[in-house]
């Protein structure tokens, strides 16, 4: 790890060679069939917080869902113990199965041969799948993702560079250099605009692992991630989705356009839950906001390590559906987040950013101060949910989207 960051900076600077390319949705159609109501997303005079009531309702729904998840997370141990106690007389096999399931759901180490084998496989896939994605992009004259077409002037250089990087990744050679090159490529993506770079944020999660690998990586069998690596993978990956969620509300036409073209993406129980009670006359607008908030919530859960395995499995299943059912072959790069989510879902080294709250409420519980314990849990859950959702939702109503058209 020592010395990897300075090298990353040098390689990143090298990659900032001037080139012109336009990032746009080349393969995924996104034309709106009919325009959205712009005023829905903007300041709404006379309404509470100046937000459209349906937007406010969905924001509240998101706060309730997030707070509920946070509360259940903070009281997961007593719930788990009650369930495990209930099956004590049901026989050894049932007891062990329930215990393993409880460990999986509550992000505790799962000490099981099959789980361990899947985890090892997940890490192998996670570390190598960027190589496949790069090869696919090179074959499609794109950079990193098929959506970013290369400028014909620099096409040859970038195609060869991607192929070379893919070979290094697939053979697990000089992984810190691979990490530095990925970081450099991500910095380079900013030339297309900050939204393009934000779209590729999740790619940085594997760069974290590469950068923290030894230079002699080709000699090693890397089948496990350290606690530090898992933490940074979830932080970068989760933050990527969290940011992308907010970006979807900002760039609402693009998201609604995709939904217009691929109506099957509308069918999502979480999205329906978040849109519950919102004005049905703004169906498409509500879908955009609830879809975006679902991504914000899942990204936040992954980022903070709150029911990380559950969310990782849900998101991996969702990406698989997008790849196999909704969009087809052109979304094959989604193998990357699937690999990342598999690697963290099947790791037994999970940590949570809500740990300080757990320590506080645990201390209150051990001292017998039940009221104080409940106040810490409730206050932290609701406070956190409000802070995560409303400031950004409120701020977005002030933004001007004229530059997006």
């Amino acid at each position: 790890m020592t010395g990897a960051w300075p090298r990353a900076r040098h390689v990143g600077l090298l990659l900032l060679v001037p080139a012109v390319a336009l990032a746009h949705e080349r393969f995924i159609r996104h034309q709106l069939k009919q325009p959205l109501h712009d005023e829905f997303f903007r300041r709404y005079p006379g309404a509470f917080l100046g937000m459209h009531p349906a937007m406010l309702r969905m924001g509240l729904n998101a706060v309730i869902v997030l707070a509920a998840f946070a509360v259940v997370w903070l009281v997961r141990h007593p719930i788990d113990e009650a369930i495990e106690r209930a099956v004590v007389g049901a026989g050894r096999g049932v007891q062990h199965a329930v215990h393993l399931l409880a460990c999986f759901v509550t992000d505790r180490p799962v000490r099981n041969r099959v789980f361990y084998a899947i985890g090892q496989w997940g890490v192998i896939m996670f570390l190598r799948v960027p190589g496949l994605v790069l090869m696919y992009s090179a074959a499609n004259n794109s950079l990193v993702m098929p959506s970013y077409p290369l400028d014909p002037k620099t096409e040859f250089f970038f195609k060869m560079a991607q192929a070379a990087l893919a070979v290094l990744i697939l053979t697990q050679t000089l992984l810190p250099l691979c990490g530095a090159l990925l970081v450099g490529t991500w910095i380079y993506l900013n030339r297309w605009g900050w939204m393009v770079a934000a779209d590729a944020l999740p790619v940085l999660s594997v760069a974290v692992v590469y950068l923290s690998s030894p230079w002699e990586s080709h000699k090693l069998t890397i089948t496990d991630l350290s606690e530090w690596q898992v933490r940074w993978v979830r932080l970068t990956l989760g933050f990527g989705f969290f940011a992308l969620g907010w970006l979807k509300i900002y760039n609402h036409d693009l998201v609604a356009g995709v939904a217009d073209q691929y109506p099957s993406v509308l069918d999502d129980p979480m999205v329906k839950l978040l849109a519950f009670g919102a004005d049905p006359s703004f169906k498409r607008e509500c879908w955009v906001v609830s879809f975006a908030l679902a991504e914000v919530l899942s990204g936040f859960m992954v980022m903070t390590g709150t029911f990380l395995r559950v969310w990782s499995v849900i998101m991996a299943a969702m990406f698989t559906k997008l790849m196999l059912v909704d969009f087809g072959w052109n979304e094959i790069p989604h193998l990357f987040p699937i690999g990342a989510l598999t690697a963290i879902a099947f790791s037994s080294r999970l940590t949570s950013e809500l740990r300080p709250v757990e320590v506080l409420e645990g201390r209150a519980g051990r001292d017998g101060k039940r009221l104080r314990q409940a106040a810490i849990i409730g206050g932290a859950a609701v406070g956190l949910a409000l802070v995560v959702i409303f400031p950004m939702l409120f701020a977005l109503t002030f933004t001007d989207r004229a530059n997006l058209r």
């Binding site: 113990e81 007891q95 062990h96 215990h99 505790r108 000490r111 041969r113 099959v114 789980f115 361990y116």
Partner: protein, 233 residues
């Protein structure tokens, strides 16, 4: 083993220094629990809310590696206690405990024990002695794992089982059938197949005998002496 009366409690090592009044107090807060064979009392990583005193039966203390392999750290019999470590430091359980045979135990909740120990500090000394004994056993076990061969570790595991859970019979000391080759393998950090092969060799040497599926040690002192020769120089 007798029912958990105050006289029964007096035979528990950590309560040996206590008077009848203190034993009565313990009798009041302790809850009796009967558990069928093959039941996990608690899993490694669970929160600690109580500690346990074994009245009858036998249990094994084990840890599970990430890949699912199990290592039995020790076995527990009547009069012994378990679960005190996590109860004292408030950390999650460091190992799992499972009943090998039907067992009866007394359960003392953490808060009750805390109040009791504050009023009767002598109990804490008893608990500390128990923790120290387990720590020493753990050190010995680690030393054995590092420097002794598999045959030594299997023979040592048989000796421990016979000492703690064996029943004297005409033909020697009979280890209860509840402890099988898999348990021996988990205690000696090896595989059940390897244990079977070592048992055959020990049987050839006359140190153990398999009788109707039970493991019988004809002469404990012979097995103990043989261990000296099995150990590396």
């Amino acid at each position: 083993m007798s029912a958990p009366t105050t006289s029964g409690l007096a035979s528990v090592r950590i309560f040996q220094h206590l008077g009848p009044d203190d034993l009565k107090k313990i009798d009041k807060i302790a809850k009796r629990k009967k558990v069928a064979a093959g039941t996990v009392v608690f899993f490694e990583g669970n929160r600690a809310d109580a500690f346990f005193i074994v009245v009858s039966g036998s249990l094994k203390v084990f840890q599970t590696a990430k890949n699912g392999r199990v290592k039995v750290l020790s076995t527990i019999g009547p009069g012994e206690t378990f679960g005190e470590l996590a109860m004292l430091d408030g950390q999650p359980r460091s190992a799992s405990v499972e009943t090998v045979a039907e067992s009866e135990m007394l359960v003392i909740a953490r808060d009750d024990f805390k109040n009791l120990a504050t009023a009767t500090p002598g109990i804490l000394w008893g608990v500390l002695e128990g923790v120290c004994a387990r720590l020493r056993a753990q050190n010995d076990s680690e030393l054995e794992a590092a420097f002794q061969g598999t045959q030594y570790r299997v023979a040592k595991a048989i000796l421990k089982l016979a000492d703690k859970h064996g029943k004297k019979a005409d033909a020697g000391v009979r280890v209860p059938p509840t402890f099988g080759a898999r348990d021996l393998a988990e205690m000696a950090a090896t595989t059940a197949d390897r244990v079977e092969r070592i048992l055959e060799k020990l049987e050839d040497d006359g140190l153990v005998r398999v009788d109707d599926g039970d493991l019988v040690v004809p002469d404990l002192s012979s097995l103990r002496r043989a261990l000296d020769y099995m150990g590396s120089p």
